[in-house]
């Protein structure tokens, strides 16, 4: 099966080439289907971008929460120090130890 095989293979390809598929049935209404898909993908792009930006917004929210927490603590510490320096240090310390202040 050498030269003969080559010839047979060529004959097989020639016959397969001649057997052209009729695609007219699939082509029917193709433009409509394509337009619908393009419209769908175009409309979905905003949602897709929003979905892609989710991690960014989540990170932003976490950063904002952390920043707020740090600011609150700093404000509380400043308040305690300012009250303590005004002369009522003992009362402030007591309130802080008993948990009345945070």
């Amino acid at each position: 099966m050498n030269d003969n095989a080559e010839e047979k293979l060529d004959a097989l390809f020639a016959a397969a080439r001649a057997d052209q598929c009729d695609t007219s049935r699939v082509e029917f209404g193709f433009e409509t289907r394509l337009a619908a898909r393009l419209r769908e993908e175009g409309g979905g792009s905003v949602a897709a971008w929003a979905w892609k930006l989710c991690p960014f917004f989540a990170a932003l929210a976490l950063a904002a929460a952390w920043w707020g927490q740090v600011n609150l603590r700093a404000e509380a510490t400043t308040e305690i120090i300012s009250e303590a320096t005004q002369g009522n240090a003992e009362q402030v310390l007591l309130a802080y130890m008993t948990g009345e202040r945070r």
């Binding site: 097989l12 397969a16 193709f30 898909r37």
Partner: protein
Amino acid sequence: MNALALSWPALPFADDALKTPGMADYAAPSDADLVAATLGGDEEAFAELVRRHKRRVFGTAARFARDDHQVDDIAQEVFVRAFRHLGKFRGEAPFEHWLARITVSACYDFLRKERRIREQVSLDAHDFDARDTNIDAALAAGRARELVEFAMRKLSAEERLIVTLAELEERSMREIAALTGWSEANVKVRAFRARQNLKKILEVSHER
């Protein structure tokens, strides 16, 4: 609708323009004009491009896919990619050539995806019908296409792409290299190996 579309409202067929006196000036717009109009937001211009070129895209897709749904999927993928990347079309080569490269790329992706699925799902039952078919019998029975498909399913996606383009689409090695982006030498080597593999596959199936 932009100016181009308005100047071309009722010319669905080029022949009509030739038949109507006084309308000869309105030649059908070229592919490049339609591309420019599409980029300007004219959807109808793209629809016209699709109408012009879909037959060839479907013809190529039908060489790679078995059923109508797969052919339709490939054709849709081709035109969606073309629409998305239309801005990259420079007009240095005809639109048809640019679209042919996209078509080949979409067909190659289809073959790779199909092969992955086939590796996961056994298709022995489907192969069994064609196993006893030899070339002579297939030719006599008008089942050449079936036998070619059976044998090609055993090739790699690259080999199948090259064999289809070379043997069924009758494209030259240079054309295939341009369409795939592979070097001509690479295409020749792969085409040779693919033919050898096909012969082996058909010998084995014939001996069984």
